[in-house]
Amino acid sequence: MAELPLAGIRVLDLTTFWAGPGAAMVFADLGAEVIKVEAVQRLDNWRALLSDPQAERWWETSPTFNSINRNKYGITLNLARPRGAELFKLLVKRSDFVWENYSTRVMAQFGLSYEVLSEINPRIIVVSQSGFGSTGPWRDYISFDPVAQALAGLASITGAPDSPPAFAGQMPADMLSARHAALAGLIALADRERTGRGQHIDMSQLETAIPAISEALLDYQMNGRVWNGAGNRHPQMAPHGCYPARGNNQWVVIAVATDDEWRRLVAVIGNPPWTSDKRFATIVLRLANAADLDRLLADWTREHDRDDLFRRLQAARVKAAPVLNAADLLDDPHLGARGFFEMVERAEVGRKPYPSLGIRFSKIPISIRKPAPTLGEDNEKVLGGLLGLSAQELAELEREEIIGKFPLGALPSIR
């Protein structure tokens, strides 16, 4: 059996939080040797998110950290100290990628700008996932997902027209930054194979979210129309919305495009008199009277079980779905049948389910081969094995707090 497609590619992963680690995770899943680099003075803050503050090693208990860093190795190295930066440069000589999502001034502060790194290794590919890129008036500003959602215009088109902008909770700007960065890395790798040279990918989280509003950007230029939030309304479908089902916080979505679909929906409802109201007779009329239609439909859905509505409507070939939450998804029969979640044993937390890559190959054997690394887990393997440092030198580095296995400082608070 052949090796994974990125076998032999080494990535130094300096990224923290979500968008950067999510990109490097794709490389790790595809077989690259991804070495996550933290410092005992400066953990990836994501280790604190949703962690168990009561646990002795709280930094090993975050579900989000442990999800996004699987298949990676982990070392600690304090880049703010000259010896740490020097060792990092030795690793750069032996690596293919440096991946980072600091704000733009940090790598230069470490003395590790692209210019420096490419001089050490002209084949190195540096992926920078900053908030706004390394140029322009906002280059030093900081972005988290909600910041990019707002500035990219996504917030302006999310939510009901009669309410404040609503938050897209799946964190689209983080996911778009992560997934564009992974793809960019693969393009750069193919480019390097043709040309022999590395390069710098100077990403801006804001810019990765802009394509998501392309229709609005073009509608403004074409027709002078500025989009606002439309709730769940659709320009060509009615009903098209999210309706309450029986119980607390239970919802079902229903979308109807054609008159045939409308007749099938009406049959499932049981043909009550309101469904033959002239105001709902054609798609044009249903679009015009969508507010009344939504109200009447909600009065019906409210009386029924969510999953029952889903089953009955889909059986009648009406586009309908339950609004699934985390507990539903973990138990979902479809995901279960396809083996979407993989069970992985990890120190401190035991055996837990983690989502798979989400791309299925008939031949490339993708799987979660190892859990997320514990802090400094691979110091000996990487600094000893790869750089040839002796046990004595490693002990020295640990005394000087350039490497280590325990965080210095308290649990950071992050929400």
Binding site: G133, I142, A166, L186, E215, L218, Q221, I359
Partner: protein, 394 residues
């Protein structure tokens, strides 16, 4: 370095997810040939259109998605059309399709069969739920996928129905990015082994795999996180619009208190990160914060907080996004002229690269490259082309 023929992708997809995948590859030198049915890719029928007048050459969605691509028309349901597709497959590296699984089977776009004839071919399938499993044949649309991938449950205002983000692109981009990633991984594998393969992307799974792993959180903690609007942050109303201050850590919240002259409230536990079950902020602090925001403009708030290293954005609409100095200075938009639709600014590359060649050429007219491909490359003569045209094959 020997000059290589660019990778060729035949794009049969009829959903924006596939179109986004090939758009990104086409920007960086992949030759993408759209194989459209003679009445055109359905994206050409979706708006918006200039002056709200439908025209298959002027759909905003198609103009955006199809940049850098070629277009040929071919009815692959016709035996003659199918034979021409097979001839094109001989010179192609990748074929991408988004047909419902049962339809793909009916059309013979089945990997086990294609592998025998084209062992080096990569077949990419992008569907709502994948090629097996109990949801395989469900009726779908972006709203259905947003509901079933856990996106909707997290979104919108607490206490009312979850709400989506308007338009088609957001939900399409994620499976599109997965498909493009899968293509490059499969091509790399092919270089190592000489073999093609099937790459399968289920939009539901891609959307779930890209989001925050709330299911794993549930497995660890037994809690279902609801709408993120109150737990993580909320939009604040300023004098002239909304801002998104994202002070996620204690130190950022301290800076925020200083910036607003509310330092005397720093001892208030409400200024720290609220723990599970705690009230996020006292009503007095709410009032003071709301008052502060109401006294400032959104851009002023953004600039002030960012200058203090507190992440903050302002809610920009599409007009403001287009005129953003940051985005313009970075060259985030490319002006591209089109002979029918006119000239517009389009989002450029989402990942500026220092060395790889990038291009932004206009979307093709329907069947614009029929002559080049069918005559120039496959060697059909003018009569044959006419016959196929009048038979509705091309």
């Amino acid at each position: 370095m020997s000059a290589q023929r660019p990778t060729r992708v035949l794009d049969l997809s009829v959903e924006p997810a596939g179109g986004y995948a090939t758009r990104l590859l086409a920007m960086y030198g992949t030759e993408v040939i759209k194989v459209e049915s003679p009445d055109g890719d359905p994206a050409r029928r979706r708006g918006p259109f200039p002056k709200d007048t439908p025209n298959p050459e002027c759909s905003a969605l198609a103009l955006f998605l199809d940049m850098n691509k070629k277009s040929i028309t071919l009815n692959i349901r016709d035996a003659r059309g199918r034979a021409l597709l097979d001839r094109l497959l001989e010179s192609s590296d990748v074929i991408l399709e988004s047909f419902a699984p049962s339809e793909a089977e009916h059309l013979g776009l089945v990997y086990a069969e294609m592998e025998r004839r084209f062992p080096r071919l990569v077949l990419v399938s992008v569907t709502p739920f994948g090629k097996d499993g109990p949801y395989r044949d469900l009726e779908s649309c972006p709203l259905v996928l947003e509901a079933m991938s856990g996106w909707l449950f997290q979104s919108g205002e607490r206490g009312r129905e979850p709400t989506r983000t308007r338009g088609e692109m957001l939900a399409a981009m994620v499976p599109g990015l997965f498909a493009a990633t899968g293509i490059l991984a499969a091509l790399r594998w092919r270089e190592q082994t000489g073999e093609g393969q099937l790459v399968e992307v289920s939009a539901m799974e891609a959307m779930l795999a890209a989001s925050r792993y709330f299911e794993t959180t549930f497995a660890y903690r037994g809690t279902v996180l609801g709408s993120s609007s109150t737990t993580f942050f909320r939009y604040r109303r300023t004098r002239d619009g909304w801002v998104a201050p994202a002070a996620a850590t204690d130190s950022q919240r301290e800076l925020l208190a200083h910036a607003m002259g509310l330092s005397e409230h720093l001892g208030d536990p409400a200024f720290k990160a609220p723990k599970q079950g705690e009230k996020p902020l006292t009503s007095e602090l709410f009032r003071l914060l709301d008052q502060w925001y109401a006294d400032h403009s959104k851009v002023e708030t953004f600039e002030l907080l960012q200058s203090m290293r507190i992440p903050c954005g302002y809610v920009a609409d599409s007009k403001e996004v287009l005129s953003s100095e940051q985005l313009r200075k970075r060259g985030a938009f490319t002006r591209v002229a089109h002979p029918v639709a006119g000239a517009f600014e389009y989002p450029g590359t989402p990942f500026p690269m220092s060395a790889a060649a990038y291009s932004a050429r206009r979307a093709p007219l329907l069947g614009e490259h029929n002559h080049e491909i069918f005559r120039g490359e496959l060697g059909l003569d003018a009569d044959e082309l006419d016959r196929l045209h009048s038979a509705g094959v091309i």
